[in-house]
Symmetry: C4
Subunit: 234 residues, 4 copies
Amino acid sequence: MSKYIYLKEQVYEANMEIPKEDLAIVTFGNVSGIDRTAGVVAIKPSGVPYHRLRVEDIVVVDLDNALVEGNLRPSSDTKTHTLLYKNFESIGGVCHTHSTYAVAWAQAIKSIPNLGTTHADHLTSSIPVTEIMSDDMIRRDYELETGNQILDLFTKQALSYEEIEMVLIACHGPFTWGKDPAKAIYNSIVLEEIAKMAYLTLQINPDADTIKQSLIDKHYYRKHGKDAYYGQGC
Amino acid sequence: MSKYIYLKEQVYEANMEIPKEDLAIVTFGNVSGIDRTAGVVAIKPSGVPYHRLRVEDIVVVDLDNALVEGNLRPSSDTKTHTLLYKNFESIGGVCHTHSTYAVAWAQAIKSIPNLGTTHADHLTSSIPVTEIMSDDMIRRDYELETGNQILDLFTKQALSYEEIEMVLIACHGPFTWGKDPAKAIYNSIVLEEIAKMAYLTLQINPDADTIKQSLIDKHYYRKHGKDAYYGQGC
Amino acid sequence: MSKYIYLKEQVYEANMEIPKEDLAIVTFGNVSGIDRTAGVVAIKPSGVPYHRLRVEDIVVVDLDNALVEGNLRPSSDTKTHTLLYKNFESIGGVCHTHSTYAVAWAQAIKSIPNLGTTHADHLTSSIPVTEIMSDDMIRRDYELETGNQILDLFTKQALSYEEIEMVLIACHGPFTWGKDPAKAIYNSIVLEEIAKMAYLTLQINPDADTIKQSLIDKHYYRKHGKDAYYGQGC
Amino acid sequence: MSKYIYLKEQVYEANMEIPKEDLAIVTFGNVSGIDRTAGVVAIKPSGVPYHRLRVEDIVVVDLDNALVEGNLRPSSDTKTHTLLYKNFESIGGVCHTHSTYAVAWAQAIKSIPNLGTTHADHLTSSIPVTEIMSDDMIRRDYELETGNQILDLFTKQALSYEEIEMVLIACHGPFTWGKDPAKAIYNSIVLEEIAKMAYLTLQINPDADTIKQSLIDKHYYRKHGKDAYYGQGC
């Protein structure tokens, strides 16, 4: 039996949330997870439809994207995932989907403003969108450069990847991450709902404004940090 | 066996309508019910996903929010629920969701105008929206003050909580109530549909107007009050 | 056993399409069917949720709305149904829903323009909307007058109820009919889809125009009349 | 047993994706497949609802639309399908749906601009829309002329049917094709999602622009052609 079976099962379960939660059609989207002790990442194979995906199809690679275990090619987005693991040191899972409303904001090249408490429960800022990639980066090593776009955005805007666990790639779609694969896909589910709510809010009231800082802080810190009192504390 | 088993079962069943009717994702939303003789409120535990919720997880508190029965923390919104029970004396259930269209109206800080008979079947006025909470109230005792925002709105606008069983909290989302937990969640289902219909109506015709008073009265009073003739009279 | 069992089963089956096809929430909507030989109409009982509806709950009335068979009150819209049966002599079923997009057009008080072949496959004109009912009619005999609004519209605009089997009641929602209850509910399904398509078309292109007469005729007459060649001819 | 059983099963399975993926209501839509050696096309029968469709109902015709096998009339759109097979020599399946967002673009008579990588993964250009058919063509041999509209569009705009496997018929809806029936319906699923994403993108940002050529090429050619590296290479 695979020595990575537990990781592969976690990654399989998280991937299967993508079709269940309508976050992508056909073969689109992928979730990965990392075993930092072993230095390996497990990820969905490329182009496999979800209804045919099995635990044993999950591919294991190292942080240099070399194959460690598996009979299939890993997701074509693997280099984006591994770059995030190398630079966001405390994360354990990464998720990429083509969920409809998040993609629409990404295609519109607009960050999603913080318009309500559903958003503020999860992050204090807008959900950021990268710049359009340069022709040179696209042609060089596209999937790696997609990861670099995310890193550059977080550096330039001085964002914390531990607070903001989601981003929109301009003209493409969302990436999310978290402490494990389950939290990464959770964030994709939440992002899609926030994206839809923000869309509708601005259709109803094009002048709707970002909510006040005190309300953002209240909602974010009742769920995060040492004074959190939402949930069961585990 | 719990002496509150009947109440807990009612509250459990009403909570399970939230995911079934797509009124919130993941762990969001909560329904409670009150036993006025015993002076206790049963409510969803905080942060528990619906697919893992069991009857025995429902938490029982008193009207001062002190734990009466249960191994889990009650919903972080408990103080809003208990304040409503203390002030709206004839209600038996309260429901809070993050349903998408109702949240969009709340984030737009717009009351939902009475644009048709689906709305008038349930209430004669618009569905009201609170003011934005002051910084001071947010920092003091947020969930209690959320309840106070509702009470203040009903007092200032001279609204009847027995007729208008739904409200939008600005920047947040809807609360509904009713004679029991089942009626509270019923009102959340109806509110979401009215919110979607009103959104679409104004997209089709931005000049769509509130319906006439005679039509509002006809629909409301064929379902409510002594001359009601809709339903089976029970 | 009921002598109207076959009619009641047809009506029950047609009513159960309403929740299955998402044409109304909770208890809204109703389908009826007529046995013209016996002079009776079978219809959904008032205010019963679909998941509790049984064949034996279907109520039978005569064309003067007097109870013939059943333990429950008939739909509060019964007088609208019976008036249509009395005036539209060849129809065998009537359906009323609160389907979301059709209601939005009705609340916007706009007829649905014939923007494509999905529409033209079913009727050659727009889907008409009634005028707003007068206060006097609302207070007199509301459900009967709802039927009169439909009859007046068809008379004034010289429309054929045999071609146009659907109408929007201003500020309320759709009524549809057909040769039997199954065709009546079929028309409600089609109307909702046409209503959504027309909504989206005008959002994409506010100047979208009614399609040309030759295309309307081609699609309508390949499905209807003596030269029809769509379907299996039965 | 039918000598075309394998083709009929393929065509049946592809047709059943239409209701499963919500690409048409009631009886609308149809998928066909060709056996080029035998010179026959298998297609959905006309006007049969999907829940009653069986493998043995699939109709087999030759390329001149003459019946080869089957007890039912073939789809009224058969002549469009056979014309495409005669002119697009490498295709093995054709699909026509009335999917909601694709129809809305067709009714708006707008081609769908290439606004993101979900689109660019499948084709490099916009999704083209035909011109409105002339009265003369409509009255002559409508379904054949629908095919001619597609051929004329591809000729005039010098488009490759091997790259662009989807088209919108003005005022009507989409046709898609591919190497087999499964790929034809796959393309209809993808088209509907692209159509919805493009709609939402332009609602969020009416000035959203077509993505840059380098990004289009990167995404298209990582999935197509000799240097493709997406998927499992089979």
